[in-house]
Symmetry: C2
DNA sequence: GTTCCTTTTGCGAATGATTCGCAAAATCAA
DNA sequence: TTGATTTTGCGAATCATTCGCAAAAGGAAC
């Protein structure tokens, strides 16, 4: 584990919310080059130490977000107004996916689920 | 409804699988400029005539896929080997999302769910 | 701690999907 | 028709991400 990879891992572990590459860069300061951030994220994801999903938000465009792979697999909500993520808790769709596998014959190795709308703070605005 | 928008709508309605912008372009032939394809897709999505999701596949990178908004809302599986989509059937996660709303206080306006792995044809390779 | 080999990094250039600016073309309403 | 509004084509610009490559770092025997 190199210094850069270690730092990225710790940033994700401590975040408590999905981070895009730029978020990680900011938190890493001048520790390493942006390209190394990307490479470290890939490195961690390949080894299951990080997970990612791609979210499209009207305001920010398409961005890939990363979370630590050390926490329990969970899903996220993205607020279209304040652009914060809300933790929706541990994954509840595994049984449904298993049904879908039975129905269609596919073998599911991974899935992406996220929701968007307004968080409770932004709802009445 | 202009000629270009009409054509894009018909392409999505007839597709039976999610299409990326390039797929739509190919099917539209020289009917219009690529920029007009993108603009038409946005136009249709704003009006609920199309839906999209962003999928990241190791082999193809990050791409946005569109489906007709006229069919029932459903979810898709993406094969990591042959890169075809398999229809997973009508959405089954609405009740779970409603529970998540109750648990967290967020208001969900849309959600994205897709799975990936190997389709039945690619499984034994 | 020197030597040789493998891996990682920085830096700048390239990519590729998508978006923009703007003037021409098409639509629409009166 | 006419003038206003919307849409389109085309090329340039964006922007996140990736690449190429040479320098730097790390590692395992001598
Ligand atoms: Mn956002
Ligand atoms: Mn693919
Ligand atoms: Zn909010
Ligand atoms: Zn397949």
């Amino acid at each position: 584990m190199t210094k850069a990879r270690q730092a990225v891992q710790e940033i994700l572990d401590a975040a408590g919310t999905p981070l895009c590459a730029l978020d990680v860069e900011e938190r890493a300061g001048s520790l390493c080059d942006p390209a190394t951030i990307y490479r470290s994220l890939h490195y961690l994801e390949e080894r299951g130490l990080a997970e990612s999903f791609v979210l499209h938000c009207e305001a920010h465009g398409t961005e890939r977000y990363y979370v630590s792979g050390k926490a329990q697999h969970r899903h996220w909500f993205h607020c279209e107004r304040c652009h914060r993520f809300v933790d929706l808790g541990a994954c509840r769709v595994e049984p449904i996916l298993r049904d879908m596998e039975d129905d269609t014959g596919v073998t599911i190795r991974s899935h992406t689920l996220y929701a968007s709308g307004f968080c409770s703070a932004c709802r009445g605005l």
